[in-house]
Symmetry: C2
Subunit: 563 residues, 2 copies
């Protein structure tokens, strides 16, 4: 089959971007090829705002036919957290047909080499980027993110994380040369000479198990890391978050076909309600890599049971911020208020526990008691979300009834410093929109510990009174070691306290943000620069993205012969 798109042309088109990405992961300076502003789209082949919306609307109620082998049914049934029925149906696969079909094209994909695989991945990302406006609606109406967040986190930021994975994958594969001449001196005798060839070979089929809240952002690193290292990739989306990943699979299949590769290298595994196909797939012998984002319990199950596969998990943690002192009290409060509010706290990186000395903190506005800090923070959140339009734009919708139930139950866990408020979304009246609750707990009370030492995913934060900064640092250590964290924050003007927090984060392996008071938030990480998770505490066994995330997705096979 003649390829419509030649490797040569794709290399010419994308190699400069790949080189920039390689440089960015080396320097970790700011870089992104994917514009964050919605108005940056609409030219040079990309969909503009109206076109993207129209493209999304045109998908509603349709069958998304991916032309996959082994399609034995059509399944679907996503309801947007904003209330609308998507009505999109997807192919349901007979895995005994689909999995063998996915292996058929692996040899050609493997033999194409690291560079060609990288630029094919970059072409997939480029086409997704061109459809960012369409994907934004798909992410919004599956995750419940507000539009701007769905646009940015589900679009350019997710694409950045995918590209970052491609760059790491490429760098690892080309560390070993394609060939080497090996000549070993033998004194007066002729040297020994061998011709050696090296080839990166894939592990097999990789499984991506998607999540509800960030289908693309959390799905792309594993998808592109596996594909770029020569594996086929089966994408099993969360039943409530299928559309963004189904569109991704569609684009990937299109690009693979146009470049002369087998489109079945990437496929979708949508499921019937309650089918629970992830367990079945995860233990199939063909599945050799699994990327998972979701609950700790299923992540632990995968690690224990999918023994035939390399398993990369991002589970849950109890994210913690120590508030000890600050020289920018207003900045601290507004920064924290934003962190707690963004996407109704439904990020794996949202702070849950705010550790505050019960004797209060020092600030540039004088000493503040524990109660004052909590009250001021509650007021700051209230102010941020006081305007319903702005609140809707920041909070998005509650993603599912479990989160709503947890939010409602949280008020019973302690003294409520800030009550959750119901907000009406005029455009989507069925959306469940809630402001965060802040509950006061006492770090010294065992009953309270049961609450703050468990993950309470959603717009729930605990203002935990601790005996001292030292006590807070020790609680932080215990939290990381026992429960894991995706993020740690700290506010302190004391070098000593900062040093103690740093030591805990280095000892227990947690990513730390210090004294954020401006426009960067503890729950946000930037691809090419920040690591997302550490891979070294119970919250996740891998980080996005480092060499460890890619280096074991392929193996190097050597063929040597005498010269």
């Amino acid at each position: 089959m003649a390829a419509e798109l030649s490797a040569h042309d794709l290399i010419a088109k994308h190699r400069p971007t790949l080189d920039q990405a390689l440089e960015a992961i080396r320097t970790r300076a700011y870089w992104s090829p994917h514009p964050e502003h919605p108005k940056a789209y609409g030219e040079n082949g990309s969909l503009g705002m109206a076109e993207g919306k129209a493209a999304f609307d045109a998908l509603l109620g349709t069958r998304l036919d991916l032309d996959q082998p082994g399609t034995d049914d059509w399944v679907g049934g996503e309801t947007s957290p904003y209330g609308i029925e998507l009505g999109v149906t997807y192919p349901h696969a007979d895995v005994d047909t689909l999995l063998p079909a996915m292996k058929a094209g692996q040899r050609a994909w493997r033999d194409a080499g690291a560079q060609v695989r990288a630029v094919v991945c970059l072409e997939i990302l480029k086409r997704i980027s061109d459809r960012t406006h369409e994907f934004a609606h798909a992410v919004m109406h599956t995750s419940g993110q507000a539009f701007m967040m769905a646009f940015q986190a589900g679009g350019p930021h997710a694409q950045d994380r995918g590209l970052e994975a491609v760059a790491y994958a490429y760098a690892e594969q080309v560390r070993t040369p394609d060939e080497a001449e090996w000549t070993k001196p033998q004194g007066k005798r002729d040297p020994l000479k061998l011709d050696k060839r090296f080839k990166a070979v894939p592990r097999g089929i990789a499984l991506v198990i998607g999540c509800n809240t960030f289908p693309t952002w959390n799905g792309y690193p594993g998808l592109f890391a596996s594909l770029a290292t020569g594996n086929a990739v089966l994408v099993k989306p969360h039943p409530r978050g299928v559309l963004p990943l189904a569109l991704t699979v569609q684009v990937a299949r299109e690009v693979l076909a146009e470049t002369g590769f087998d489109p079945n290298l990437v496929a979708l595994a949508a499921e019937r309600p309650g089918e629970g196909i992830a367990k079945t797939l995860a233990t199939r012998p063909e599945i050799r890599i699994i990327d998972y984002t979701g609950s700790t319990s299923f992540g632990d199950w995968l690690e224990a049971n999918a023994r035939q596969a390399q398993v990369y998990t991002e589970k849950a943690g109890v994210n913690t911020v120590l508030v000890e002192s600050t020289d920018n009290y207003k900045g601290m409060l507004s920064n924290l208020a934003f962190s707690l509010s963004l996407y109704s706290g439904q990020m794996c990186t949202t702070p849950q526990n705010l550790l505050i000395p019960r004797d209060g903190i020092t600030t540039d506005e004088g000493a503040k008691s524990y109660d004052e800090v909590v009250t001021d923070l509650a007021r700051s959140v209230g102010g941020l979300l006081g305007d319903d339009a702005r609140a809707n734009a920041l909070l998005g919708a509650i993603v599912n009834p479990d989160v709503k139930a947890r939010l409602e139950a949280a008020a019973g866990l302690g003294e409520v410093a800030l009550a959750s408020r119901e907000i009406v979304n005029p455009e989507f009246p069925d959306a469940v929109v809630r402001t965060p609750v802040i509950v006061k707990l006492d770090g010294a009370k065992p009953d309270d510990e049961a609450a703050y030492m468990s993950e309470c995913f959603g717009p729930v934060s605990f203002a935990v009174a601790v005996d001292s900064a030292t006590d807070g640092v020790e609680l932080l250590r215990r939290t990381i070691a026992d429960k894991g964290v995706m993020t740690v924050g700290a506010y302190t003007t004391s070098d000593e306290v900062a040093g103690a927090v740093e030591e805990v984060c280095l000892d227990e392996c947690a990513q730390l943000s210090l004294n954020l008071t401006g426009g960067v938030y503890v729950n946000q990480t930037a691809a090419f620069s920040d690591f997302h998770g550490s891979g070294g505490n119970p919250a996740a066994n891998a980080a996005l993205c480092d060499a460890a995330f890619v280096a074991n997705r392929f193996r190097m096979v050597e063929i040597r012969r005498e010269v």
Copy 2:
């Protein structure tokens, strides 16, 4: 404590070697800083032949006091496969005391950074190298290797593998910069600016579980990979192979102390007979990394049970050589004869199954029937080992009674093409020295399959008659997939057959040596150039050495703050 050896001096001394190692793993051309010839030692501070022997003799019957915390007993009892009692005793550790003590120095070791750790490791290797003659005897009298092999494989080649691991570890750790300035444009507003610092942090304590046959060669990669990435390392040697690793630990502790680090970063866990301490240690929460070489059953147990640790295993495989045709019949026979004989076939890389078409093969000496090939190979082995002095120098001693029992039982598995012969070692009359047995089996007979599809570790090879080259290639595929291999060899003048074998090795992930007829053997790999194992088939879950072997032994922690 003031360090006797400054980091600055060590960097000046070893950085050029590290740079050469980094270049070697990039080009994979021949390189080694460790001389292979015994006569190369004896000057510039290294022990010469007589000094090394004297140093070894002085160890016999002594207590090797490593000055370890928690030493509650002295254990030992190694008997050389050459018959002598070593009589060396080693510290037995109360692990509840030793493990905490090993953690005490981790912070300073972590904070020293990748370069300092690398040069400290290189200083350890240099001092081991200087004592190569002494180590050679220690390896010889634990593994049963003949002196020259113990010298080379246990000395320079093992040191090369250790250095290779240090180079990979260093390269991975410095891929991320120590710090970055991150400036994100915000249109007309001020850019967002963050100061970011990154630090490689270790996982904790690493456990090296040594093997009997290659204590240093198989032990050094994991030991140095873990140490160079900031971990403490506990070395649990095979009860019959303690001395070479105990000396290694002694040197490491000495260098750590002299460079101002805590010597307890490296410690020995010797055990009482039958104590089975490996299982206890492997599941301790402090143990976060395990490197293991040995039986498949215990390797599988570790992978299943040591869930708190990263587990790197080299288990067992059924190494296979396909003999289809050759343009150098004599060279092929002599090359194979050497491979089967070296260290009495007690290498994890020794070929076990020789797949030969039952209709014979084509050679530069005309067509040869299956029987002729087997007879000629048997004659070649017989010739190679016809002289007892040469046989002793090549075979070494049988390492333990299990191997001897397997060898004796093998003769009952089929028609014996070459019987094993007992050889007397005049210097060590108690040594059990045996030539290899070659047994004819039929690839089409199910009864025979039970024999050739199981690993038979030791000087036992099966000449397996296959229906055709195609049949042989398919059997090769099945062997790799089901049983795993450390090595695959093939002899063929047919591009088609070579291509088919290559495809199988790429598909099933096995390292392939093609048409070796000279002085390189399928069972030997060279550090910095050849991969040992692939990490992609059941014989081993890791390869020596690649980025995947080191990248997950540490994690990167980021500390970011506003500028």
